[in-house]
């Protein structure tokens, strides 16, 4: 029973990682950059939703929708102001800028909301926890919804990328930026759209994560951001199903090693697994092998 409990916790934690990892993986896929500010967009989403529910008395779901809207705009703005002017100047400049944006967001949050941690009211406040098997198996509404949301998001996103025109354009840009432009694809719009989707999902991840683990601080996004980045690399960065599998496996390894091996070593075990996977398969579990263009 303990095993099942841990498995559910692991799936739920892994689903949060997976949703965040999507943002990393999509942005990397299309513009070949690591958007380290992604973790902090999660935090912003959490704070927006917190403020709307606490101070303006809004319904949690309405607040979630608005937080998604704000984060989407934030993602587009970041891309427009910080990354687009640097496109084509080499990856190092963009990487440093991304770290700069991350610090900028954290410190702005510190300025606006202060250093005091807030406790987030769960989206499912008042929904009873499911107890099964004589109360030994507990499934919280948060974990159930997180797992379901992850699956739904993944299916929608895969369909969007493979079936729609905009999705096709995104794939084309990620394949060959220059050729796509020659074919009449608006590259800027495709990249903006990728950032918009990734950031909107970050808001969802922020709200879900804070519902399950309710502490909200300006640094809340950084650790999950790093873990999700690991998940994206684990699954093969650039691949959407890879992000899902990477996130889930990472979450399960983390919780299982806490439950059965050692709470002190769980992070070390997670990252050791990452190293082993990368040694065996350098592009990650589902990563495509890209031939170096000379």
């Amino acid at each position: 029973m303990n095993f099942l409990n841990s498995l559910i916790s692991g799936l739920s934690l892994g689903s949060v990682y997976a949703i965040i990892a999507l943002g990393y993986t999509m942005v990397y896929g299309i513009s070949k950059m690591l958007n380290f500010a992604h973790g902090d967009v999660i935090m912003v989403g959490g704070y927006i939703s917190f403020c709307l529910t606490m101070y303006m008395g809004m319904n949690g779901w309405v607040a979630l929708a608005l937080a998604m809207a704000v984060c989407t705009l934030l993602g587009i703005t970041i891309e427009r102001l910080a990354y687009r002017p640097l496109r084509g100047t080499g990856s190092l400049a963009v990487l440093i800028t991304a770290i700069g944006v991350s610090y900028f967001l954290q410190n702005s949050a510190l300025l606006i909301w202060g250093a005091n941690p807030r406790v987030f009211t769960s989206l499912f406040d008042g929904v009873d926890t499911i107890h099964a098997a004589n109360g030994q198996l507990t499934i919280t509404a948060e974990s159930l919804f997180t797992i379901v949301a992850n699956i739904v998001i993944m299916i929608c996103l895969t369909l969007f990328v493979s079936r729609t025109k905009a999705g096709k354009a995104m794939r084309a840009v990620s394949e060959d930026n220059g050729a796509a432009q020659l074919m009449g694809i608006n590259v800027n719009r495709s990249i903006s759209m990728t950032f918009a989707i990734g950031s909107g999902l970050a808001a969802v991840a922020g709200v879900l994560m804070c519902s399950a683990y309710p502490v909200l601080m300006p640094t809340t996004g950084s650790m999950p951001g790093i873990k999700a980045f690991t998940a994206a690399v684990f699954g093969g960065i650039g691949s959407i199903p890879g992000a899902m599998i990477g996130g889930l496996i990472l979450g399960i390894i983390e919780i299982m090693s806490r439950a059965y091996i050692s709470t002190e070593l769980s992070d070390a075990i997670v990252f050791a697994c990452l190293i082993i996977v990368l040694l065996v398969k350098p592009t990650g579990l589902l990563g495509k092998k890209v031939n170096e263009k000379v």
Partner: protein, 391 residues
Amino acid sequence: MKNKKWTKFVAVVLSCMMILMMVAGCGSKSGGGDSEGNTLYIGGIGPLTGAAALYGNAVKNGAQLAVDEINAANPDGVQLVWDMQDDEHDAEKSVNAYNKLVDNGMQVLIGAVTTAPCTAVASEANANRTFALTPSASGPAVTEGNDNVFQLCFSDPNQGIASAEYIATNYPDAKVGVIYNNADNYSSGIYDKFKSEYEASGKQLAAVEAFSDDANADFTAQLNSLKNAGVDLIFLPIYYTPASNIMTQANKMGYDVTYFGVDGMDGILDLEGFDTSLAEGVLLLTPFTPYSEDEAVQNFVKAYEEKFNETPIQFAADAYDCVYAIYDAFGKTGLGTDASMEDICEAMIGVFTGDFTASGLTAEEMKWEASGEVNKTPKVCVIEGGKYVEK
């Protein structure tokens, strides 16, 4: 062409403004130590921004209140100047802040607020001979080997020992478990002492679990293993933020258990958005509670709330006591305010290691060991009806 001239003009104006601002900035900052009159320049170091900013700002405000009181009570006597610098809870920045204060003419130091930066500053201050009294850096490394550094808070080992004694005496039949933060030397320091002291009383801990730093972590694995071990009292030598997370998750699991916290638990009731009914029945070891009926505490809380619009936490009270302890001890040294930092340091060490006692908000008759540790009696409080009630 016209356009170019215009830019030049703007550039000149802007540079002039910058130079003016720099000059003005210098003026206001050096106003402390070398200023005329009978003033004692007290420097402070702590995190005013960053993740630990809550503590630094509480110290800043608490000390400011004490300084204002002392200055107003005796306008003809020694006037205190309080200058707090930010270290962002970073050891390197803390040493920079210390050097800046020394350059500005600091005579006595209150700080640093948090343990890791304080350890770095303490050895600098020892080499330079600055007297330092830290309101809240409770790690043993702060005072080790530094005869000039004293603590006003309990040291971590003392908290662990006091908690173990209290639990062993008052909950003799409880199955005790621990969740601690193994990436934080405050938490693991208390845990180590707690464990050895508790086991010395002939009992065994039922289960011990750890986590590392991340306040947003998933604690269900830890809670499940404590639950399976039949633990009914959890000792939490951690800060209140992860503690609130643990309580929320345990509640969701339907795990009903008693919590015992140390001074880091202080603040849990002020956590915005936290369902404080979850904290009902939590026991905690704390030197200060804003709900105490003590008159001095009540006056302090009232003045603090009026001035800063928030309820003071223990760090503010510690800082307040620090200022009074330094003021009283300085009076005992017989030195004038024109004495150098080095002379004040030697004289203050003499007073603190002598039979000097200080009374304040956090304890009566505090007395210091030569090692720098303070002797005071910890209070155990229980949270009832959203308030601390002394046990």
